[in-house]
């Protein structure tokens, strides 16, 4: 999704309430305050977390239940004004010390039973709430207009905004809001969204989706708080979504500089419709006897012939072996020797194995990138060269090693790179370099 697409949506927002706050550092897992939002009065307030509360009601569920007790009375039903939805992740929330410490606990009175229910969920909302300096969040009241509540730790303010133009359903809404509130593309992992969807408006088992930004796939991923139908309470309050924006945790170096950058590049998938090519693909598949166990080999052979795996190839393999298309794409993106993008005529592989690394292969990559004008993992525009970093070509004794086409060249130096690329008979270069 492009930032432009969501700009228009954001322009339609009307801010109904705004409050600024200071982010506070945590003390032994606590910020010692919690946040309360009343959607009826649009009042945003902060309250103390007492020592007693920490001692008696330790943990996310404990806090939630105590805060509920403060809000409800013996007549409160699931759709009462005062029925709160409470969010907390406990003193360990957001630490990396134990599996599960990223979870958020939430409680409310359930539409299914009209008694309190708790549900726990992943996603980044709970930790971001904590990092903003709140041990819990309580939402009460009902808004007439559908609103989003934005907890923006980067700009230190909380707003209640109308959001008429956004999609209703989480799989779209999470992406929209993430892109909308992120300053840059990299900033997206600082945004977490909580939302429900159309189903939750109509069914008592409606759930809540908590998002996190998956930088590898470039999409929001959703985690569900499913127990008790809290999604329906959420809708009933006139809530469209909660958004938490974290203070930037991106280091000052840029993700593009890191080796993981290529994971975030979108792939283009091509189709092949020439009958001979399709026949060739089929032939490869039949050579492996349409055997599921050999789909990787099939793809390798196809890759070898066409320098990429096309949509058509995936479809054919699916047809003959029965392995699902989705899974075949998984395979095609999982293994490094397979590629959905078309590779160049000549692939230049630079060994980045340990032996080559200590012998300075990083400098060779830099030089190759300069000379070819492409980055590692890319192909020149004329489709002549592809540049790849690989881990160990198995010729470590003559490090640093590069492989041009199927020729292995050893003891390469950065200054030789230009010579190697320009020389059509690269084979002789091996000697020159002695």
């Amino acid at each position: 999704m492009l930032a432009e697409d969501v700009k228009g949506m954001r322009a339609k927002h009307r801010i109904l309430a705004e409050k600024s706050f200071q982010v506070v550092e945590l003390d032994k897992g606590y910020s010692n305050r919690y946040l309360r939002v009343d959607l009826t009065t649009k009042e945003i307030s902060m309250h103390a977390v007492t020592e007693k509360m920490k001692e008696l009601w330790t943990g996310g569920k404990g806090f939630d239940l105590w805060l509920m007790l403060l809000e409800i009375n013996n007549k409160t039903k699931w759709d009462s004004q005062e029925n709160p939805i409470c969010f907390s992740s406990g003193p360990l929330g957001g630490t990396t010390s134990f599996p599960g410490t990223g979870k958020t606990l939430l409680t409310s009175i359930s539409p299914l039973t009209n008694i309190p229910i708790d549900s726990n969920v992943g996603g980044y909302f709970g930790p971001f709430l904590k990092f903003a300096g709140f041990d819990a969040l309580v939402i009460v009241g009902k808004s007439e207009e559908e609103v989003v509540v934005v907890l923006d730790a980067a700009n230190q303010k909380i707003t209640i905004e109308t959001a008429p133009a956004e999609s209703n359903d989480s799989h779209l809404l999470a992406d929209e809001l993430t892109c909308m509130y992120a300053d840059t593309e990299i900033d997206r992992h600082n945004i977490a969204v909580v939302s429900s969807g159309s189903a939750a408006k109509h069914s008592r088992i409606g759930m809540l989706n908590f998002s996190f930004w998956d930088w590898r796939r470039g999409v929001s991923r959703l985690k569900q708080a499913g127990r008790g139908g809290i999604g329906m309470v959420f809708c009933d309050k006139g809530l469209k979504a909660l958004v938490a924006k974290n203070r930037d945790i991106t280091p000052s170096w840029r993700i593009e500089e890191s080796k993981v950058a290529h994971h975030t590049n979108p792939k283009t998938i091509s189709t092949q419709d020439c009958p001979e090519e399709i026949a060739f693909i089929d032939d490869i598949i039949h050579r492996w006897k349409d055997d599921k166990e050999y789909v990787i080999e099939m793809m390798q052979d196809i890759q070898k012939r066409f320098r990429h795996i096309s949509r058509t190839a995936i479809d054919r393999i699916n047809k003959f072996t029965g392995t699902s298309k989705a899974y075949l794409y998984h395979i095609a993106t999982f293994y490094k020797s397979l590629s959905l993008d078309e590779k160049g005529e000549i692939t230049i592989q630079v060994c980045m194995g340990t032996a080559c690394h200590v012998k300075g292969s990083a400098r060779i990559v830099d030089r190759l990138e300069q000379v070819l004008g492409i980055k590692c993992g890319e192909t020149t525009k004329d489709k002549k060269y592809s540049l790849e970093a690989v881990a160990c070509l198995g010729a470590c004794s003559i490090a640093p090693v590069i492989k041009v086409g199927d020729k292995v060249l050893g003891n390469v130096q950065a200054k030789d790179v230009e010579k190697i690329i320009k020389d059509p008979k690269i084979f002789d270069i091996a000697r020159v370099m002695e």
């Binding site: 599996p99 080796k259 990787i296 395979i331 980045m352």
Partner: protein, 623 residues
């Protein structure tokens, strides 16, 4: 067809045939030598023999890697072992004429030992070879890997014959347990015990044999070499394993990056099948076993046992939880024995020479319990900043110092030793103070590293240890399958911190955070990739703390590696004004005239390091 009766006479006949030659020219056609023109050397030898009409007296053989790749291309004249090195096309004629025809060794093509300055004529006079002990590599440089008869002439398939006629399967397993053989693929699990568990789990039903030739550790190429030099020893090992556990089907999972190894294996399998040594009714007995090849597709994690088997099923190679043991629930959910190439290569020798011989090599007393020590030898790829790079096979228990200083010939270019890295991305970096430690499974683990599959990368003082740690974490980020959070996100977090430190933006607290995150990754990851991933960070933190602190406090990289912390400059006293750097600088950052001191414009300089590389007068310095 070869059977248990005629095997020995066929071998004898082949030995006689080979001994008729006056000599054999064993030309290395391993990857290292080929990249330096080895194929051409081989062809030229054949031509030269024909030119001098002695093609019936001498045999030219293309062998797998000889081991001493540093001085390739190599040719060894057998049986008298004359070792010719760094050959070029024009040298061949001289060897054939002077040596083969006239009996005069060509002196200037011999290896010169830099420590005593003497020429070494015979292979075994060279220190690189004398300290070695060959088991898995026993046939390296001695046979044509593409000719099964060469293998047979060196008592090949004799051990298979022995187990079939003399031993019952449980006896074989017992022998392997008693030999103390531990897996050479990384973990060091006793091989015999693995076989026994798989056999027990199979209860007489289906069980598979798999050879792990996925060799993913960067900086290691032992398995590749074994397969390329002597593929039949792996096949024979697997056959013996199959006989012992009762398997009928076996697989070799081999790395896609090794095309030569793959073709050699395919050839070897075909030849073995044709000779009746593989397939149904092996050696005309009722023992049947067949082997198929599965290609890897470039994923390090597929070396892990459960991921490997998932990948063999045509799926993405994601590991399964540790409590599922592949010996019980493996390939196609059947009990599966997975062993490394080198492990399999050891089997025929153990059967041939016996338990007493094998356990006399190595450390500890393993007869009652294979966990008590490390018997036998281990192949290492000795690479990095070391004079004699190559493959070495040494007895367990040898010290790191012996390997690095005596076999490896020490650090070249007047540099000093800083660290040695073993165990691949799961291993660690050991400093000079650990050099006298014996090399075996348990000592290495105790020191915070690992035996691993045998990469041994030597690093000199211009290697930055923070950068090395970051390098391994980068590698693992790429290779993590992404299935579990601690590994996927934890490694990313480590990368952020390490990159920050390398960029001179590190904070005091970073060191603490590195340890905390490392601990979490180790404790909470699903498979051993994640489980051992922080080792490179922890070991460098333990042994090279000072370097981390310098990066953080002084913004200084003493090894001159971290780009953001260094500048290239020209030392006025050393510069002769030769203009080489000026000509080579890709961005014209260097100015100067002939025979005058040159200067680097730091604003233009992109820190590519080329001037540093090309200056012959050590005038380019890193500040």
């Amino acid at each position: 067809m070869i059977n248990i009766k005629n095997l020995q006479s066929i071998a004898k006949k082949e030995q006689d045939k080979l001994s008729k030659y006056k000599g054999m020219l064993m030309v290395c056609t391993g990857t290292g030598c080929v990249s330096a023109g080895g194929m051409d050397i081989k062809k030229e030898f054949t031509n030269a023999l024909v030119r001098h009409k002695i093609e019936n007296d001498y045999l030219v053989v293309g062998t797998g890697c000889n081991g001493f790749c540093a001085v390739g291309p190599i040719c060894v004249l057998q049986p008298d072992q004359t070792f010719y090195q760094k050959l070029t096309h024009k040298d061949i004629e001289r060897i054939v004429k002077n040596h083969l025809l006239e009996g005069n060794v060509v002196k200037d093509l011999l290896y010169k030992d830099s420590s005593d300055g003497k020429l070494k004529e015979k292979m075994n006079d060279i220190k690189f070879f004398t300290k070695q002990m060959l088991i898995a590599l026993r046939n390296k440089g001695l046979i044509d890997p593409e000719n099964i008869y060469h293998y047979l002439a060196r008592r090949g398939y004799e051990s298979l014959r022995k187990v079939i006629i003399e031993m019952d399967p449980d006896q074989v397993i017992d022998t392997i347990i008693k030999s103390g053989l531990r897996g050479r693929g990384g973990g060091g699990f006793p091989t015999g015990i693995k076989w026994r568990s798989a056999k027990k789990a199979a209860e007489g039903g289906i069980v598979y044999i798999v050879c792990n030739a996925d060799e993913g550790d960067p900086g290691a190429y032992m398995d590749r070499s074994i397969v390329e030099t002597d593929p039949h020893t792996v096949i024979e090992g697997m056959l013996i394993g199959a006989y012992a556990v009762g398997a009928r089907e076996g697989f070799i999972y081999i790395r896609n990056e090794y095309p030569l190894a793959m073709t050699r294996l395919e050839k070897a399998l075909d030849q073995a099948k044709e000779a009746g040594l593989l397939g149904s009714n092996i050696m005309e007995t009722d023992f049947s076993f067949d082997i198929k090849i599965h290609r890897g597709a470039g994923a390090f994690v597929c070396g892990e046992s459960s991921a490997l088997m998932t990948s063999m099923s045509g799926l993405a190679g994601e590991p399964k939880a540790k409590y599922i043991h592949t010996v019980e629930v493996g390939f196609r959910d059947k009990p599966t024995v997975l062993n490394n190439v080198e492990t399999w290569a050891n089997i025929p020798v153990i059967i041939e020479k016996g338990v007493d011989w094998f356990t006399s090599i190595g450390t500890g007393d393993v007869k009652d319990n294979p966990w008590n020590g490390s018997s036998g030898t281990k192949v290492f790829s000795l690479v990095g900043d070391i004079r004699n790079t190559g493959l070495v096979e040494v007895p367990m228990g040898i010290s790191l110092r012996e390997i690095i200083e005596e076999i490896g010939g020490g650090i070249p270019n007047g540099r000093t030793f800083k660290a040695v890295q073993t165990g691949g991305p799961s291993g660690g970096c050991l400093p000079a103070s650990k050099l006298d430690m014996p090399v075996d499974f348990d000592s290495l683990t105790r020191a915070g590293s690992m035996m691993g599959s045998g990469g041994m990368i030597v690093m000199d003082d211009k290697t930055c240890m923070v950068d090395v740690a970051r390098y391994f974490i980068d590698f693992l980020i790429d290779e993590s399958c992404g299935k579990c959070t601690p590994c996927r996100e934890g490694l990313f977090a480590l990368n952020q911190i390490l990159t920050r430190i390398c960029h001179g933006e590190g904070k005091e607290k970073d060191l603490e955070d590195l340890r905390e995150i490392s601990q979490t990754i180790t404790d909470a990851s699903l498979c051993q990739l994640g489980g051992s991933a922080p080792n490179p960070v922890i070991s460098t933190l333990d042994y090279f703390t000072q370097e981390y602190i310098e990066h953080i406090q002084e913004k200084k990289c003493r090894s001159g590696v971290c780009k953001n912390l260094i500048d290239y400059r020209i030392d006025e006293n050393n510069c002769t004004g030769c203009t080489i750097c000026f000509k080579n600088c890709p961005v014209e950052a260097i100015t100067g005239e002939i025979q005058k001191v040159h200067k680097i414009d730091l604003d233009k300089c992109i820190k590519c390091g080329i001037c540093f590389e090309v200056c012959k007068f050590n005038a380019v310095i890193i500040k």
